[in-house]
């Protein structure tokens, strides 16, 4: 009898078999039931994860100069080593971010007094868009709050 196919993520026997075809390239992933449920068998990130884990690259290709964290560590842990890792692994993280977060740039608040002009402008654009949406949806309470936010941001962007 032939050996049962092992799960790509652990050593259990695989019972879920996925094939993904992208531009004619076929990628196959075999998972045990537990890993399939945990990862969500329909999640495209499972392929990425399996790729990362099965890729035969024992030597790290990128190391964070600040904390010594490597791309291999990230594959193992799914967490980064230090704030500077975000810069070190920026390219690799870009693709992952668009998958898990849908958007790749921040439009929220910043530590008091550190908001740079680019960030201010993006927030202003976002606040204006949200205000228009609120007005269109006749949600005047939110619209009023956003109008104040827009005014405040405009003031901050005008050099005094």
């Amino acid at each position: 009898m032939s050996q049962p196919i092992k799960c790509s993520l652990c050593e259990e026997a695989a019972t879920v078999h996925l094939s993904q075809v992208v531009h004619g390239n076929v990628t196959k992933v075999h998972l045990c039931e537990a890993c399939a449920q945990k990862g969500g068998a329909t999640d495209p990130a499972v392929f990425q994860l399996a790729d990362a884990l099965t890729a035969a690259s024992p030597a790290p290709t990128l190391t964070c100069p600040e904390c010594g964290f490597t791309d291999i560590d990230f594959r193992k842990r799914g967490r980064l080593g230090c704030p500077s890792c975000w810069e070190t692994f920026a390219d690799a993280l870009g693709g992952l971010l668009s998958k898990v977060q849908h958007e790749a740039s921040h439009v929220g608040r910043a530590p008091a007094g550190t908001l740079p002009a680019g960030q201010l402008r993006r927030r202003l654009d976002a606040a204006r868009r949200e205000m228009e949406k609120a007005i269109a949806g006749e949600d005047y309470e939110s619209a009023a709050r956003l109008r104040d936010e827009v005014a405040e941001l405009e003031k901050q962007l005008t050099p005094s």
């Binding site: 600040e66 704030p83 971010l97 958007e103 927030r123 976002a126």
Partner: protein, 357 residues
């Protein structure tokens, strides 16, 4: 200040009366923050984690919000005390499992900051009932105050930098703890859960990630933290919670109307069982207490008794039962003790009557 003081003190979640607490038990805001130039806790060496902890605790301790509060270092607490904190949602299981974590908790227990969890700082604010704006404003103020004394890791493009890519940007997780017996009894919960998932919201059980929904209590929270402003995240969650609360009330009214006597019978049986059981498991207690909470919301029991039901849901958990008994108990011992506590609390409860809501 110790875990014992936390247990003894009255707080919003166990003692507050108010009509706004039907369906939504509590509102929670969590902000993930990190110090600039320090490795994240999962990658930091022991002396670095110590330095992170010292710097964060010192900054937190100086804030007016934490005056006369609690500073609890996980390495100094026993297993039971740490389990009590987890059951109260003051710290996560992950923080409680490690030795280098600490929690700084405000005197009224509405604010708790975890230090050296997955990130250096996890600011949490919890209010009883549905108060999204109020809860957010407290968190925002705490964040500003901390940003004033600590240099936080922030990038213009990616916002607040976190250990995990699922938190980067705002670092904001806003959630509501909701009690949905109507939707569960009507068999609609799977459908509601799917709809929430599809629109970017996560639905979890009573104790967060990976736990089951004991007592028909669910935690609903945003997933996306990058590319949306805090305002947009709160609005999105708020809209859905309003919708879920409406659906829950519709399901309850429909059940009460269609089932008639059977509906009241179910609630009355739960009260009868809780009042006479000699052994009560944790999940059995939660499910029966869920019926009592429903009865209070629907006018089948006086509304002013609801906070007592909420308190039993919290204090009926295993570590709480043992803390109250002042000793370690085996599973049977806990079930016996839990049953005694519940019997005592419900002994002067009135009978269940026809719904008025």
């Amino acid at each position: 200040m110790s875990v014992e003081d936390i247990l003894a003190a009255e707080n919003e979640l166990t003692h507050l009366l108010g009509a706004q607490q039907a369906v939504v038990l509590s509102t929670r805001i969590r902000l993930a923050r990190n110090l600039e130039g320090m490795p994240f806790p999962g990658w930091a060496k022991v002396p670095q984690r110590k330095e992170i902890s010292d710097r964060c605790v010192e900054a937190l301790d100086a804030l007016p919000k934490f005056r006369r509060g609690h500073v609890l270092r996980m390495g100094e607490l026993g297993d039971r005390d740490r389990a009590v904190l987890v059951e109260r949602h003051l710290v996560s299981k992950e923080l409680a499992a490690g030795k280098s974590g600490a929690a700084v908790i405000s005197r009224d227990q509405t604010c708790s900051v975890m230090v050296n969890e997955e990130d250096h700082l996890r600011i949490q604010v919890v209010k009883a009932g549905w108060h999204l704006r109020g809860t957010w404003h407290i968190a925002e103020q705490l964040d500003d105050a901390l940003g004033g004394s600590l240099k936080l890791a922030f990038s213009d493009r990616l916002g607040y930098l976190t250990a995990c890519p699922t938190n980067v940007g705002t670092g904001l997780r806003a959630s509501a703890m909701v009690h949905l017996p109507g939707l569960c009894l009507a068999g609609h919960m799977d459908k509601v859960s799917r709809a929430l998932n599809q629109d970017g919201l996560a639905v979890r059980g009573w104790l967060g990630e990976g736990t089951e929904a004991a007592g028909n209590v669910f935690q609903i929270s945003n997933q996306q933290t990058l590319g949306l402003s805090e305002e947009a995240i709160l609005k999105h969650l708020g809209g859905w919670i309003k919708n879920v609360v409406e659906q829950e009330w519709n399901a309850r009214r429909k059940l009460a109307q269609e089932e008639g006597e059977k509906f009241v019978d179910r609630l009355a049986r739960s009260l009868g069982l809780l009042r006479s059981a000699r052994l009560l498991t944790s999940s059995e207690a939660m499910n029966m207490l869920s019926h009592l909470r429903l009865a209070c919301d629907m006018g089948c029991l006086p509304e002013e008794r609801r906070h007592l039901v909420d308190r039993l849901m919290i204090e009926g958990q295993p570590a709480h039962v043992q803390a109250r008994a002042g000793q370690e108990l085996d599973s049977d011992g806990r079930d016996r003790r839990r049953a005694a506590v519940v019997r005592e609390a419900l002994k002067d409860f009135p009978e269940v009557v026809q719904p008025t809501a």
